[in-house]
């Protein structure tokens, strides 16, 4: 749809509370410059915006965060949250009065029950999820059984199905982009990680059943043999 538009350097998503910009890896000064350029290019869009920035694993100093905030402020953009998986960056952001928790970005339709965060906790379900069953958990979900058509799992973290996945699986719901969906037999195309849905309506023909993993590769949701994926890492 946007094939002809110039591609944004960084993906932006809209939430009720504001925009979420996810930065890529690489040299901080270059990333910062691309970000500022992206904002300058679409000044009208960004003016007055509240933004949360996800810096991923990156570790930032207080000076860097403070500078980021003032550069954004110069452009009439308010930084209200800095999301990171680096404990150091989180501490810095908190010191500067920024939110660091992803829960500040609630997606109204996908509010999960409050639970602990980010893979430290997982829900183990030791039965087959049949049609009509919905499991919502803000962490990872492990099913020892099948997930049948008409059943759904909404997980804040990853989803592991020790059986056949035929139902709807949505992982990384609060924008955890490294969440994955793994199944011994992955037979559903009804998959979503963070906000990205699997685009193909049909799955590839499998000659032999083997475990597969669905993951985000850039902006695309891909499915790969587990063995193959492990070799990539």
């Amino acid at each position: 749809m946007h094939a002809k538009m110039k591609k944004d350097a960084f993906p932006i998503k809209g939430f009720r509370e504001g925009l979420l910009i996810t930065l890529s890896e690489g040299d901080w000064s270059k990333v910062l410059n691309s970000l500022l350029k992206q904002i300058d290019d679409r000044q009208a869009f960004f003016e007055g915006a509240q933004v949360a920035i996800d810096v991923n694993e990156r570790s930032l100093s207080a000076a860097e965060v403070s500078k980021l905030r003032s550069l954004l402020a110069d452009r009439q953009v308010t930084l209200f949250a800095l999301l990171s998986r680096s404990a150091a960056t989180e501490t810095v952001a908190e010191t500067l009065g920024l939110s660091t928790h992803k829960s500040v970005l609630k997606q109204s339709s996908k509010d999960l029950p409050r639970a602990l965060y980010d893979g430290e906790n997982a829900l183990l379900i030791r039965k087959t999820l049949r049609s009509g069953v919905s499991v919502k958990f803000n962490g990872s979900v492990i099913v020892e059984g099948d997930v049948n058509p008409g059943a759904e799992i909404l997980a804040g973290g990853s989803i592991y199905v020790w059986g056949t996945l035929r139902g709807n699986a949505q992982a990384g719901l609060q924008d955890l982009r490294n969440a994955v969906i793994v199944a011994l037999d992955l037979q559903s195309s009804n998959l979503c990680i963070a906000d990205t849905h699997y685009q193909e309506s049909k799955l590839k023909i499998k000659i032999k059943k083997r475990a597969e993993i669905a993951f985000l590769d850039g902006d695309a949701l891909k499915i790969m043999d587990w063995d193959q994926y492990k070799r990539l890492e």
Partner: protein, 267 residues
């Protein structure tokens, strides 16, 4: 006498619950068993029609529950088998006329009268379904070999488990071997892989079933009908006999399986 109470249910409508109930009841009666069929589809009764007993109804299930008649008065004796009775549903009421505990109480009374109670459940997953399975010792889930019926069966199996009436057994009705060979219908193995419960029988598609439904003469009474044979086999399995599945000529050869696989995109 301590009868066994079996509820026949499905989730989806039109898959053959009523036909299965009538045929299993008649097949058990043919084997000399005392059987009471109970139509719990209040407001949409039709077990009486399938059994050819609609003209004999005086009292119904709701009359028993509300104390307007005695149990025996509402039991209609079958035309062919002395020990086969039907308790019809009320046609002018709805599902809220009964509660699950009413049904449990009735079930306990019926146990003293007979060997088998076969309850025909309404479609759906609401009050009527809960009423129907409340007194059950065992649940038979009927499905057809199509995707929507199987999905509804899956839902029902989950609900039966949740009500601690499981594990249910599966009756696959209206299987058409020709369509399976052409890759136009799910085969029994696909269905069992998904639903993962025990199979009690497979009933092939048979035009004779429609004829017999309209004439009120259940198809088990037709010696030559394949569907009738399948229902007789299921009744024997209920009695505890080991009866092998009928050969319905639907064993697929490898090429058929392969072509079906490619047609469905492997999904």
């Amino acid at each position: 006498m301590a009868a066994k109470i079996i509820t026949v249910t499905s989730g989806k409508g039109g898959v053959g619950k009523t036909t299965s109930t009538a045929n299993l009841a008649v097949a058990l009666a043919q084997m000399g068993q005392k059987v009471i069929c109970l139509d719990s589809d209040i407001g949409l009764r039709n077990l009486d029609v399938v059994m050819g007993l609609e003209n004999r109804i005086v009292y119904d299930l709701v009359d028993i529950i509300e104390g307007r008649c005695r149990l025996r008065q509402a039991m209609i004796r079958d035309k062919r088998f002395e020990e086969l009775h039907l308790i019809p549903a009320a046609q002018t009421r709805d599902k809220s006329a009964l509660s699950p505990s009413d049904m449990v109480k009735l079930g306990e009374e019926l146990r003293e009268e007979t060997n088998w109670v076969i309850i025909d459940s309404p479609a759906g997953i609401e009050r009527g379904f809960r009423n129907a399975i409340a007194p059950a010792d065992e649940v038979i889930v009927v499905t057809n070999p199509d995707v929507s019926a199987v999905r509804d069966a899956d839902r029902i199996i989950g609900l039966v488990e949740a009500e601690q009436k499981g594990p249910a057994r599966l009756l696959i009705n209206r299987l058409n071997p020709g369509m399976i060979q052409r890759g136009e219908m799910l085969d029994a193995q696909d269905i069992l892989d998904l639903l993962a419960i025990k199979l009690i029988g497979i009933v092939p598609e048979d035009e004779q079933v429609i004829v017999s439904t309209n004439t009120g003469k259940p198809v088990v009474l037709e010696e030559k009908s394949k569907a009738g044979q399948a229902f007789r086999n299921i009744a024997r399995r209920l009695m505890g006999d080991e009866v092998p599945l009928m050969d319905l000529d639907f064993k697929e050869d490898f090429m058929h399986k392969l072509s079906r696989f490619f047609k469905s995109g492997g999904g």
